[in-house]
């Protein structure tokens, strides 16, 4: 037994040879190398913190009308003490809105709505898309034909117009707007899932699982889904960006979140006629939308390059 000892000692020093890294470690390393992805990640983390700690960070309640509390008039331009605003006036970094509320607090609370909108709509669309794509790809034949033709029809409408029409049917409101945007984003995920199913279906390891007696559900979840997850994550991240933009557009048109909800699109929409006299009321909510969407776009591009180097950056979720 003493022979075994030197043998172990003779094993190559593992610190000199690179460890066989896992897929996730490689991905993470590639992701961290991309500066734009890190910027996206940084912005998003900040936004998530802002959303969570909104009550602590925001100086006022987002729906509090300041009449009688402070000496401010409606649509007052931003007052920043550092930039020379008289110290005896209350500080409002983004000014006062048309209903005499603090705009900064409303923008901070708006982060909650935007992130919520992005994650729920895309979550919904991914789940429905995965199911439809899996069924279509796995069963093939007429089922595939029917599902994919319905997807083609959905794709034949400009997404925002279809969302407007669906909201018109369901009635205006945040929840219905979310559902409408969720529905119009389904085809993208269904297509990704279906093509993954089709490419994996014919491989030998699926044959092997079938021979071992695995049912369709087990094959789909155990063998097909892991193959489809990469493009789905990428598509999903970029999809959140589009969903936030579309939701803001619906709210801007008065079909989404209703006042006094501090939703950025709604805030922009209700003050848009004042853009020539009080541009700050349009500028800040729009800037917030842009920064949030930018974060998801940067993150999505970074994830795409990290997860699948073959898919180099090019198109976006906008298409």
């Amino acid at each position: 037994m003493t022979v075994a000892q030197p043998e172990v000692a003779q094993l190559p020093d593992t610190s000199l040879v690179s460890k066989p890294s896992s897929l996730w470690a490689t991905t993470l390393r590639r992701f961290l190398k991309r500066r734009s992805a890190l910027v996206g990640m940084g912005i998003l983390s900040t936004l998530i913190l802002l959303a969570i700690f909104a009550p602590v960070i925001a100086p006022y309640d987002p729906t509090q009308v300041l009449i009688g509390i402070e000496d401010v008039r409606k649509r007052t331009a931003p007052c920043i003490h550092l930039l020379g605003c008289p110290l005896d006036q209350p500080q409002h970094l983004m000014g006062i809105d048309g209903n005499v509320r603090d705009q900064l607090s409303r923008v901070i609370y708006g982060t909650r709505y935007s992130l919520f909108i992005g994650f729920t709509t895309v979550g919904f669309a991914i789940i429905v898309g995965i199911i439809l794509g899996a069924v279509a790809g796995y069963l093939g034949g007429w089922v595939d034909n029917v599902i994919m033709r319905v997807m083609d029809v959905l794709l034949a409408f400009p997404s925002l117009l279809l969302a407007i029409a669906i909201v018109a049917v369901l009635g205006p409101g945040l929840e219905n707007a979310l559902l409408a945007i969720g529905i119009v984003s389904i085809p993208a995920y269904a297509r990704v899932m279906r093509s993954s199913v089709l490419s994996v279906k014919v491989t030998e390891y699926i044959e092997a699982s079938k021979a071992l007696g695995a049912g369709p559900l087990r094959i789909l979840i155990g063998s097909v889904l892991p193959n489809a997850i990469t493009p789905l994550i990428v598509q999903g991240t970029l999809g959140i960006a589009t969903a936030i933009l579309d939701a803001a557009a619906l709210s801007f048109l008065g079909l989404g979140a209703q006042p006094p909800t501090p939703e950025w699109g709604t805030m922009l929409g209700s003050e848009r006629n004042q853009v020539f006299t009080a541009p700050h009321l349009v500028f800040f909510p729009g800037l917030a939308i842009m920064i949030t969407v930018l974060a998801f776009n940067l993150l999505g591009d970074g994830l795409r390059d990290a997860l699948d180097p073959r898919l180099s950056s090019g198109g976006t979720g906008q298409a």
Binding site: R149, A156, L160, A241, F276, M290, V293, L294, T316
Partner: protein, 359 residues
């Protein structure tokens, strides 16, 4: 080529049928009574019954759909409930505005996006490249309606009383009018006929109309009004085209045949213009086709902001007023246009890439 085209056109038919069906179902599912929303809440039952009979709303839904299908195939979209005028006439008035806006936006997007993408790819990792890509990332993230409002503020208020001033709304300055070319040329057209609608359609393309009637004052005014909305609408497609051109060209420039072309002494300009661009254009054709849908969606927002009487705006208003014939007609026209453009894109592949024909 011919066979491929026919196959591709035939495969679009079920989609077109689906579009008609979805449009019809959506239009009919919008809650609320068109009678009440048009004639007012005080309309009596008898009045509403007559209203329903006049507009064919008393028939069962499948019958209404069959009538709708037959009418659409004949090019008849009925009368607008709200305006009591033929929908085709309203289409002829509104569609040219949106076409003019979308095409101008697309042209701006292609010219700037393509050149930015090419420069970025050729000067890979340079300052220009980095700046272009940062710009493109910001471009795709900007809400169209926000950019539109900010541009309007910048050019109408900040640049007031400078030569850079641009009108923030409308299509023509009040007082100016674009006399239709058929009147200028003295063609006696009977109003309301199909021929009239055909010519009227082109007359409402103000840029086209003012050029062939040589009315330069109107042309300049139209372009000044069109500039801001078109720029706002063009940012997203521009950014996407720039990114796509860059990545596509970078991919192609690394190929063996480019090295071969350089090795045999082909001028660098020809290497890029003839050898590389032709292959880089393929994915671009798809992207540009897909952007048209986004453009039309964006047109609703741009038209709302800049007070333009286009398709997007009237469709939005029709949905709120439950004006079924208008909703149906405009949605069908937009969706069919979208399908047609993507069909053209697919067919252009077989021109751009001979391998597709053999498929």
């Amino acid at each position: 080529m011919g066979q491929y085209a026919i196959r591709r056109i035939l495969s679009a038919i079920p989609v077109l049928f689906g579009i008609l069906l979805v449009t019809f179902i959506l239009a009919r599912s919008i809650p609320g009574d068109p009678c009440k929303s048009i004639l007012g809440e005080k309309a009596t039952v008898a009045v509403c019954e007559k209203f329903a009979r006049d507009h064919g709303l008393d028939k069962p839904l499948p019958v209404q759909f069959a009538i709708f299908m037959a009418d659409v195939l004949r090019g008849d979209f009925g009368d607008s409930i709200r305006f009591s005028r033929p929908v085709t006439l309203i289409l002829v008035e509104r569609l040219p505005m949106t076409i003019e806006l979308s095409l101008t936006a697309l042209i701006i997007a292609i010219i700037i996006g393509l050149s930015a993408g090419i420069i970025s790819a050729l000067r890979h990792n340079s300052l220009v490249d980095v700046a272009t890509m940062i710009g493109a990332n910001i471009g795709v993230s900007m809400p169209v309606f926000w950019l539109g409002l900010m541009l309007a503020y910048l050019f109408a208020i900040v640049f007031k009383d400078t030569p850079l001033w641009l009108p923030p709304s409308g299509r023509l300055t009040a007082g100016l009018s674009a006399t239709p070319y058929y009147e200028v040329f003295g063609w006696g057209l009977a109003k309301g006929t199909a021929v009239f609608k055909f010519f009227e359609f082109f007359a409402n393309l103000y840029i086209f109309n003012s050029i062939i009637t040589r009315n330069w004052e109107v042309l300049v005014d139209v372009l000044r009004h069109l500039f801001l909305p078109a720029v706002a609408l063009s940012t997203i497609p521009m950014a996407i085209i720039a990114r796509m051109t860059r990545s596509s060209l970078l991919d192609v420039m690394g190929r063996e045949y480019i090295r071969a072309a350089r090795a045999k002494g082909v001028l660098e300009l020809n290497v890029i213009a003839k050898h590389a661009m032709r292959n880089a254009l393929l994915p671009l054709a798809t992207i540009i086709g897909l952007q048209l849908g986004a453009l039309l969606g964006g047109a609703v927002l741009t038209e709302t902001i800049f007070g333009l009487a286009g398709v997007g705006r009237i469709l939005f208003e029709a949905i709120t007023a439950r004006d079924y014939p208008i909703i149906q007609a405009f949605t069908v026209v937009i969706a069919v246009g979208y399908v047609a453009v993507n069909l053209l894109v697919d067919l252009s592949y077989s021109y751009l890439d001979p391998r597709v024909r053999l498929e």
